[in-house]
């Protein structure tokens, strides 16, 4: 059959589209849940109104976002059975457990406490209401942890044995699946990247308002919180990216060789900045390289040998029999670069902003600003001119989505870089697809999902823009006088609900 229309190709496209789309919402959900919880904690502790207004503002954006994350996540729970039934039969004994843990522990947590938080403003005492958003945050983190443990098992299967009689993989050590170094590094990397994403989102929107000198107290606080989140998240993303890369050099040398378009092993190996390769001939025509850096990325020294695509392919052929074990090299190569490039661009913007908006450190007293003023951007001893200031705010707005692009390419890289395997070294993707699902069925579902997701994306972005532009809401009496009793105070019995659909 024509490869482009093979069931496996179609099912992969559908999985790719639905999963990348789902993951646009996941990192924002993870980071915004924690950031909103942090802001609300500040409100409960200090009773400063700006924190409550910030909580409501970011909380609204968080809810618009999580709604999409939740509903697109439903597809993920069933798609393995629908389109990858042979995969499900073969690995369900191992792979199903973390999914069940995710549902029974994390999903219930998230969904129940988000309902309590949304509708609970006039039904729960202040501190219990605050606890609810923290529960949501814990739920999002647990959810990510379990699904990353499942994915890590596909990257580097451990704690299992093959039962020849039943023709499937069986779990032997669940603890190992949850704690192997692939899992821990992927979790570290994904969590950091999530906060990088949320930080950039917050900085961009705060910059949008500060540029217009609007909602200054709330946006000033948000800018600061966003910049710190962005810088810390960015730093940890870089560190965890490095450690995860080293793990991958051990576990999937082919993925990392493809990430560098390093066709033949070198000692020491250079890091490629730009390359244009000829896949058929197995070498690059153009290459711009930094000597020795790849050796360092792989093994922490500038001298050691790093195997190339061709060497690794031969080694894999020896181990698994004849065949081609190369992923699509340009996708891996450019995916890797876009992931790092977009992610680190945001990180740099955060570092720069943190320096420019410093409060006291090496800042002449004349340029320090109060809570009701737009922070002045001071490079060294003097503030930036109005054009440069505006340029920084604009850059923050326009690069808001950079981490989303980086996240998407990160997943495309790690999943496509593992090919032709669905479970590395254990099961090939072509053997994983549902044999009973027809081409027409997959084309139908893929078309429906793509169209629906496109429409929902337009609706979601428009709503976000509307609420971003509206700015933080004014506070009402009932906002400032939360109930003292569970279920709401008696005096409020006939008052309209603080929130209703």
């Amino acid at each position: 059959m024509d490869l482009a229309l093979a069931p496996e190709t179609l099912a992969r496209w559908q999985f790719g589209i639905t999963t990348v789309y789902h993951f646009l919402f996941v990192p924002l959900t993870i980071s915004l849940a924690a950031l909103v919880a942090g802001l609300q904690t500040a409100w409960v502790r200090t009773e400063k109104e700006k924190y409550l207004r910030a909580t409501k503002f970011w909380g609204k954006l968080f809810l618009i976002n999580i709604a999409m994350g939740v509903v697109t996540g439903i597809v993920q729970e069933f798609q393995f059975g629908m389109n990858w039934s042979d995969y499900s039969r073969f690995v369900g004994d191992v792979f199903g457990a973390p999914l069940a843990f995710e549902a029974l522990i994390a999903f219930f947590f998230e969904s129940t406490f988000i309902g309590l938080w949304i509708f609970g403003w006039d039904r729960l005492p202040k501190k219990i209401h605050l606890a609810c958003i923290w529960m949501v945050s814990i739920g999002t983190l647990l959810s990510a942890y379990f699904i990353l443990a499942a994915n890590s098992w596909m990257q580097h299967p451990v704690g299992y044995r093959i039962n020849g009689e039943k023709g499937r993989a069986e779990l032997t050590d669940f603890w190992l699946v949850l704690t192997q170094n692939t899992t821990l590094n992927q979790v570290f990397h994904s969590f950091s990247a999530a906060f990088l994403t949320g930080g950039a989102f917050m900085v961009g929107i705060a910059a949008f308002h500060l540029m217009r000198k609007k909602h200054i107290p709330v946006m000033r606080t948000s800018l600061r919180l966003g910049l710190v989140t962005l810088a810390v998240g960015g730093l940890f993303t870089a560190i965890s990216g490095d450690t995860l890369g080293k793990v991958m050099y051990e576990q999937q040398p082919m993925k990392m060789a493809a990430a560098e378009a390093l066709w033949d092993g070198e000692e020491p190996a250079p890091f490629s900045v730009f390359a244009y390769g000829d896949v058929d001939k197995g070498h690059n025509e153009v290459a711009l390289e930094i000597p020795g850096l790849l050796s360092f990325l792989a093994h922490s020294d500038f001298e050691s040998y790093v195997p190339g695509i061709n060497d690794t392919n031969e080694a894999l052929q020896e181990k698994f029999g004849p065949g081609d074990y190369k992923p699509i090299v340009p996708v891996a190569y450019w995916g890797f670069r876009w992931m790092i490039g977009f992610g680190m661009a945001s990180f740099s913007l955060g570092l720069l902003g943190l320096w420019l908006t410093r409060k006291k450190f090496l800042l002449p007293a004349a340029y320090r600003t109060g809570e009701d003023e737009v922070p002045r951007l001071v490079l060294l001893k003097r503030p930036l001119g109005s054009r440069l200031t505006r340029l920084y705010w604009l850059a923050a707005v326009w690069t808001m989505a950079f981490p989303l692009i980086a996240n998407a390419w990160g997943w495309i890289f790690t999943e496509m870089g593992r090919q032709p395997w669905v479970v590395y070294g254990v099961m090939r993707t072509e053997d994983a697809v549902s044999p009973g699902v027809s081409q027409a069925e997959v084309i139908t579902s893929m078309t429906v999902f793509t169209l629906l997701y496109a429409v929902l994306a337009v609706i979601e972005v428009r709503l976000l823009v509307k609420y971003v532009k509206a700015g933080p809401p004014e506070l009402s009496d009932s906002d400032l006088n939360p109930p003292t009793k569970l279920g709401g105070d008696v005096r409020d019995a006939d008052k309209p609900m603080a929130f209703s659909y």
């Binding site: 618009i64 729970e77 629908m82 039934s85 042979d86 499900s88 009973g436 429906v448 309209p496």
Partner: protein, 334 residues
Amino acid sequence: MELHDVWFVLIAVLWTGYFFLEGFDFGVGVLTRLLARNRAEKRVLINTIGPVWDGNEVWLLTAGGATFAAFPEWYATLFSGFYLPLLAILICLIVRGVAFEYRAKRPEENWQRNWETAIFWTSLLPAFLWGVAFGNIVRGVRLDADFEYVGTVWDLLNPYALLGGLVTLTLFTFHGTVFTALKTVGDIRERARKLALKVGLVAAVLALVFLLWTQVESGDGASLAAFGVAVASLVAALGANQAGREGWAFTLSGVTIVAAVAMLFLTLFPNVMPSTLDPEWSLTVTNASSSPYTLKIMTWLAVIATPLVLLYQGWTYWVFRKRIGTQHIADPVH
């Protein structure tokens, strides 16, 4: 009782929990057309389930995830075999979730009306399709020796399964109507009670035929007992509703759902998906289940996590125990 039998029961419990809980919120979705006279009443209805529908839906995700882990073969066969109906359900659940969350986020009437239309259809369709799916599971489908579904989508739309769909649709609508009577105040509460009688009678007739059909075709003593409980509690629910005992009416309509689902699973056991081509090709608790080690871990998870879930979900219902009327909706046209 071996672990795979325990897990058969637990999967049944998860589906029962799902139908009990999302059953009434599907029903409330249907009522937005059937009961509400104006937009303020629509909002009252939607807000009775506002804080809880999402948590209710997670019972489905958990049933899915637990089936994957405990019975991988069942998970694989069921969801690849019922591909298009499941796709329809997923699309509905996606749109429905967004509809609840986004409806009130813009003041334009068109915007809100569109989402209201969506809430009605995306509640009605899954309520019907789940019955069709379970009708087919109980009755058996064309599975080959590799446990692959080899029938077509039209085979799934057989009279027995379609009747099953009507049963779940009407039963869930009844469940939602008595829930509405329990959770609202004012005019809408009275009308909900009146409507419950009509919907309940239709549901009773359909359920009686469907369950009797099931009992005659593949029932045994245990399923007969569940059948009896289902019918008796449905009749009692109607009586309680007439007597104005709303809490009892809701509890009893819930018991009906529990008993009816229990009956379907009792007739299914020890199969999980019978093959109509050859009994040898049926998926059973033995040939579909995971290894003892995985089942042991899953059992620990269920033993620890499920009571906690019930506890905090129950607490949510208690927090939002107050009845809602049009006076509690901030701005009726908003």
